[in-house]
Symmetry: C2
Subunit: 288 residues, 2 copies
């Protein structure tokens, strides 16, 4: 508990996660692009840092959960970035969903300065983050993983070491791939229920607990029925994730027709102006 944790990125997920760390009694340094997003945390005792460099120099473990791979690359490998500024023996944990290849590159760069890096993306959405029930999938050196386990346990419940650097990101890709096609199925099921004159809420009572059951069906379908399309998990971020996954499947020469279809449909949704909605907004494509 005498560790000082640095936290960069206070979006929907990050704010909840940082708050759990603070509540667990750690010293917490924070930095994020939009300072207002830090206000509640600062009131609760977190310390604002004006730059990545400043935060890096004054933290033992640094967690990032930010937007896009280019942001990750900038913050880790850019001038005055984490790898350049952190002290030797610091552990850096990127919880952003990002490229497996970039995770490897950061790991290797940091290693030359005696800094450990873990890639540790999460799943479980805004609810999982709020309730500290995230799944955390971790790549990097096992010893660093073990050092950080108490910290992970403050944010999540299902924490699994997946292997060498990049393995956390690869696992997250598996997760997003499974979700992608599944979301199409959920939307088509609800659209069918409406079109056939059934009561969609009563249909959910039947299908949510059987062989069609899924997290999406239990958690997102009810929001769809209320036309509550607030994020949760942003359409634009899901498109980013599916884009990374498609780069990887192309590289593997692996067919992924379900993932391609989902990527196409979500891009259509974004083109309609819904990129800042939650992923459950996909249903809007089935407006009858």
């Amino acid at each position: 508990m005498n560790q000082t944790i640095g936290f960069i990125g206070l979006g929907v997920m990050g704010r909840s996660m940082a708050n759990h760390i603070l509540q667990a009694g750690y010293h917490l340094n924070v930095f994020t692009r939009t300072k207002e997003k830090a206000e509640d945390l600062l009131k609760a005792g977190a310390v604002w840092k004006n730059t990545v460099k400043e935060l890096a120099e004054e933290s033992n473990v640094i967690i990032t959960i930010i937007g896009y791979p280019q942001d990750v690359e900038q913050i880790y490998l850019g001038d005055n970035g984490l790898v350049q500024s952190a002290r030797p023996k610091t552990i850096l944990i990127d919880m952003t969903t990002s490229q497996p290849s970039l995770a490897k590159k950061i790991y290797e760069n940091a290693k030359t300065r005696d800094i450990q890096v873990l890639d540790a993306p999460v799943s479980g959405g805004d609810i999982g983050a709020k309730e500290a029930r995230l799944a955390i999938m971790v790549g990097g050196e096992r010893a660093a993983y073990e050092d950080c386990l108490p910290l992970f346990e403050v944010m999540g419940q299902n924490i699994v070491y997946q292997g060498e650097a990049g393995s956390g990101q690869h696992t997250k890709m598996c997760n997003q791939i499974a979700i992608a096609s599944g979301m199409i199925g959920v939307c088509e099921a609800i659209a069918y229920a409406k079109n056939s004159g059934l009561d969609p809420e009563t249909v959910l009572k039947s299908i949510s607990s059987g062989a069609a059951g899924s997290w999406s069906l239990s958690n997102l379908a009810p929001r769809m029925l209320k036309e509550d399309f607030e994020p949760g998990f942003f359409v634009k971020h899901f498109i980013k994730d599916m884009g990374i996954a498609l780069e990887e499947t192309n590289h593997m020469q692996m067919d992924a027709p379900g993932l391609e279809l989902a990527h196409k449909l979500y891009n259509e949704l974004a083109k309609n102006g819904d990129e800042n909605k939650g992923t459950q907004a996909l249903l809007k494509l089935w407006k009858s």
Copy 2:
């Protein structure tokens, strides 16, 4: 309990369901195309009937769970079929996944002879049937549904009245539609895990309980990893169900690209000779 139940169709699902009825203390008459499939039930006290007609004349409630809509039409509406042979006040329950329009037609025909019909397809697979944890989605008249509730409770746990005749089948279509695309996602996730050098079993530990979680991922993915492709739920039956759903979505002029893709992939699988495997055999299309 003094009711005599007739049961027609002793496939993977039917055998377990009929057995629960027998164990609950009902008198049970059985008939099925292949008599050997009845052997265990007969040893346990069920009574064999040589024809649909004979079974119909000697049962108060008759349950069918058979193969295809044409079989349902034949057994219900054909010569010496259930509607012709059952006594007035009998309740007929079709638990086959079949056409909503056919369910309506049977209901209307039977009504003229003072026979009630419920369409009550199930979800939960072989495991759900074995453990009496099926979801049962029921269409027809509410009074008949209420009369049969104790019987449904012997076979399932999540029993929901969905509305007029055909509504059970429409609900089951929602269920199959949600599963169809979801299965593509599960296969692609596993294929990705293998191709990226991860340990797929460890990946499942990460992704099964988070936002990618689903019944398919928890129950079928582990069978996929063991290359256990036994049914479970037959590929050929799933193709039948998706065919019915596509007839309906075409009729509704509703886009269903995920369902179409799944139907296409499963047909490919059947063409490869796997129509009698379980639906988890879809992974075989991703053989690398």
